[in-house]
């Protein structure tokens, strides 16, 4: 089991690498100019502020050589997960539908949020639908947006993976998502379920001392899945 964590200038690759390792996964940080990902069983595009998020969230990172490789990796069915800024980069790269806009309140938010796992085709993730987890968010541009057709397609084909929710898993009242996300969406995947993007940071919840342990499932699930597919 070997995951690659992409490192752009400004990304917090170390946090994800540490979290994955602490869940027993072998990881390696990969510099953004690399073009060979063959040795990896999965790729994580981590959070942070790649290129300062100048111009648009993820706009510059998307143009780096490694992202073309990540696209090919995903095309071949390889598992790719984008966290926070990584989600923004995957959306900019059109590996995931829609876009991430500035938070509705225009303010950065850092706090622990409750998420409900939706029934989805996401292969990064094997928590049962309806399960509720507590994961920190930390972003200024996590407002998920897509047009109506895309939204119903996401719904119909099980591509909505995570929603911000109440503690008991019920839907939030309108306008209560931390970033104003459309339909309270916190994470989505592509149709095949191998590319997954989420704004919350599971890597910040792998240690009871610093943020809880609900995030571990995001990494251990990958291990199980990847082991199951012979990766």
């Amino acid at each position: 089991m070997h995951l690659g964590v992409v490192r752009f200038p400004g990304s917090n690759c170390d946090d994800v690498a540490y979290a994955a390792r602490s869940c027993g996964i072998g990881v390696e940080c990969v510099w953004h100019d690399e073009t060979d990902l063959a040795r990896f069983d999965g790729i994580i595009v981590p959070g942070g502020f790649s290129y300062g998020d100048y111009i648009r969230y993820g706009a510059v990172a998307r143009l780096s050589p490694i992202m073309a490789e990540v696209a090919r990796f995903a095309e071949r069915g390889g598992p790719v997960m984008g966290i926070g800024n990584g989600f923004q980069i995957l959306a900019e790269s059109h590996l995931l539908p829609g876009a991430l806009l500035r938070n509705e309140g225009l303010k950065f938010v850092c706090r622990t949020e409750t998420l409900r796992v939706e029934q989805s085709v996401c292969r990064w993730f094997d928590l049962p639908a309806g399960e509720v987890v507590e994961i920190p968010v930390s972003h200024g541009g996590g407002h998920y947006y897509c047009d109506e057709q895309t939204l119903s397609r996401l719904q119909d084909s099980g591509q909505i993976v995570l929603r911000y929710s109440e503690r008991d898993g019920s839907r939030l009242p309108a306008g209560c998502a931390p970033d104003g996300s459309l339909d309270d969406i916190a994470g989505i995947c592509n149709e095949r379920g191998n590319v997954f993007g989420l704004m919350p940071h599971p890597e910040r919840a792998v240690d009871p001392l610093t943020g809880g342990t609900d995030g571990r499932a995001f990494f251990t699930a990958a291990v199980k899945h990847l082991a199951g597919t012979g990766g």
Binding site: I55, R56, A59, V60, L63, A91, E92, H94, G98, A99, L101, R102, N103, E104, G105, L106, H143, Y145, D147, G180, L182
Partner: protein
């Protein structure tokens, strides 16, 4: 050397958080009659390049076609 002006605006229907916030705050500040505000980008480029390449710059970097439209104006010699 030519000067180009690029106007990047949200596509119709895309939620514009800074615009929506501006509408709210302007109303709070007592400005009546404001129907809508939208906040886009105004990019000025001085370049030895034709408009075709400026278009490519927009497609590749300066605008995101999923949510944004852009318009290029040749503003003269720089």
């Amino acid at each position: 050397m030519a000067r180009y002006e690029v106007y990047v605006t949200y596509k119709e229907g895309v939620f514009d958080p800074p615009g929506a916030m501006a509408e709210r705050v302007l109303a709070n500040l007592g400005f009546g009659g404001v129907n809508s505000v939208s906040v886009g980008k105004f990019i000025e480029i001085d370049a030895d390049a034709d408009i075709e390449s400026v278009r490519k710059m927009c497609d590749q970097l300066l605008a995101n076609p999923v949510i944004e439209d852009y318009r290029i104006i040749v503003a003269g010699e720089a």
